[in-house]
Symmetry: C2
Subunit: 337 residues, 2 copies
Amino acid sequence: AHDALRQTLQARIDGKTKPLGALGRLEDLALQLGLIQGRPDPVARQARVIVCAGDHGIAHEGVSAYPQEVTWQMVMNFLAGGAAVNVLARSVGMEVQVVDAGVAHDFGRIAGLVHAKVAPGTANSAVQPAMTAAQCDAALARGRALAHQAAEAGCQVLALGEMGIANTSAASLLLHKLAGVPLEVATGRGTGVDDAGLARKRAVLTRAAARTGTLGAFDALCEYGGLEIAMMAGAMLGAAERRLLVLVDGFIASSALLAAYRLAPAVRDYAVFAHQSAEAGHAALLQALQARPLLALDLRLGEGTGAVLAWPLVQAAAAFLDGMASFAAAGVSGQSA
Amino acid sequence: AHDALRQTLQARIDGKTKPLGALGRLEDLALQLGLIQGRPDPVARQARVIVCAGDHGIAHEGVSAYPQEVTWQMVMNFLAGGAAVNVLARSVGMEVQVVDAGVAHDFGRIAGLVHAKVAPGTANSAVQPAMTAAQCDAALARGRALAHQAAEAGCQVLALGEMGIANTSAASLLLHKLAGVPLEVATGRGTGVDDAGLARKRAVLTRAAARTGTLGAFDALCEYGGLEIAMMAGAMLGAAERRLLVLVDGFIASSALLAAYRLAPAVRDYAVFAHQSAEAGHAALLQALQARPLLALDLRLGEGTGAVLAWPLVQAAAAFLDGMASFAAAGVSGQSA
């Protein structure tokens, strides 16, 4: 059935009034969307970006250019609609859902926030596991439920973004442990540490990595992950269960996809890598996943900003498959002999 | 005044709640849009894509995979709304204007088409100049007027696209003559000629190029250009006159920008290169213009499809500059000492 559908989709794509393959990666996107939805006429009408926020014990080692309080302050900025992801999502017509996955701050019963806090931040993974197995399970399960809710709300596409001071450290450690990428390649400047800060960050991550040997995906998440990273990984798995296309943002979101992929390889078929981040380790992470992102805009912000900017391309892919005329219908000649 | 505005724009960009430079090329776009419009709060609300169609005498040398009649058949497809550019423009919210710049077909008084035909196709540039100086002047002037009309209709952004069987041959010859790029680098498969076809195309273009020596931009357009290429070049010049941002599509549209740039270098400041085409010569053309395109989606269709897909990015750039909170307004801490 899958092969028959693939052939049907390819024939529809090739019959459009354009040279074979001339819409390039939009054609790949259309094919992927059709296979995900299990139909020759896939739709891309509604999309949501879920921004998962969490704090990191390793921040206390001085690995970030910003103080930890910025995590909750940015959550307030998301709720007020003034952050980059809000503005870009409005611009492209996506809804934003803001989730407290594990911020070290008491938001009370503030409106608009999805209260899914597993713990007020992770423990410091430089000296101990970031989270317990129960915490990691909870984060994965809540992420999965958020994806299911998005499907029930009518979304065909789910983008994942994040906020968490020091979370490039967590992503670098996951990349190192799950794909064997050396820490000097996997570690970058995050939101902008200087040379001394980068040296300190590398020393901290080297110490953290030395605590453990080879790890499976679940154990790596427990040892080094973030609550927001585990929740994104869960949401990716939940999206695949409901046949949603997943727009993967930059370095942190890609580390969540890497973990999800090691937990359940089929999730890879649902993923579209939205953009190539300027963060140093992202190229190696994409290589580990054999992924080629759609956009290369030098973004290094996270929040889901890159994923959001890829939504018009997914819509365009569905639109050409649905709306373009065929050679026969339009009365246009094909290639000469 | 220009430097003061640049500083004002950069300060606005840097004050937003994000690490410095973290929105990458969107920041460059916002700056460029502000400088073009001469204001710190530029807008990107309305955009039009003008699709210029023209035929090429050199098609009779067998340089294309498609017969010449496809040019007018595709114009009919554009008017019916079933071509790729129609569908993608609808998807991103742009209006489409279809222009007969020089198609070898009598469309009568058909509705929806802008009748700007300079001649029913060019002469065969393998053996004689493609157009007269008067024809080239007319094409440039009509293009300029179309851009002025777009400005009067309320557009801030103008995209240019084209249709014309054999027009990659014209673009390759322009690239060769205006930027000194060897024909073996400048010549590609267009809509998909096979190896024998590519060899024939190269032989024809070599013969055509040998007819003339060094040429200025206007003379190169007369000798080797297309009527649709000259009209696009005129539209680009007219857009700059009215302070519109110009979205440059792929290989053919970039060759029009190259000619326009040599006629009036200031036009370069108004241009945004939308995408890297899969057509062989485009990389060399972009290098000649020191241009780095926004998208790399392996498109090789023309019509303005790549330019259209970049419109959401321009909107996103204007949106973040307008809508994002500043650190001060959002109460978010800056970088740690």
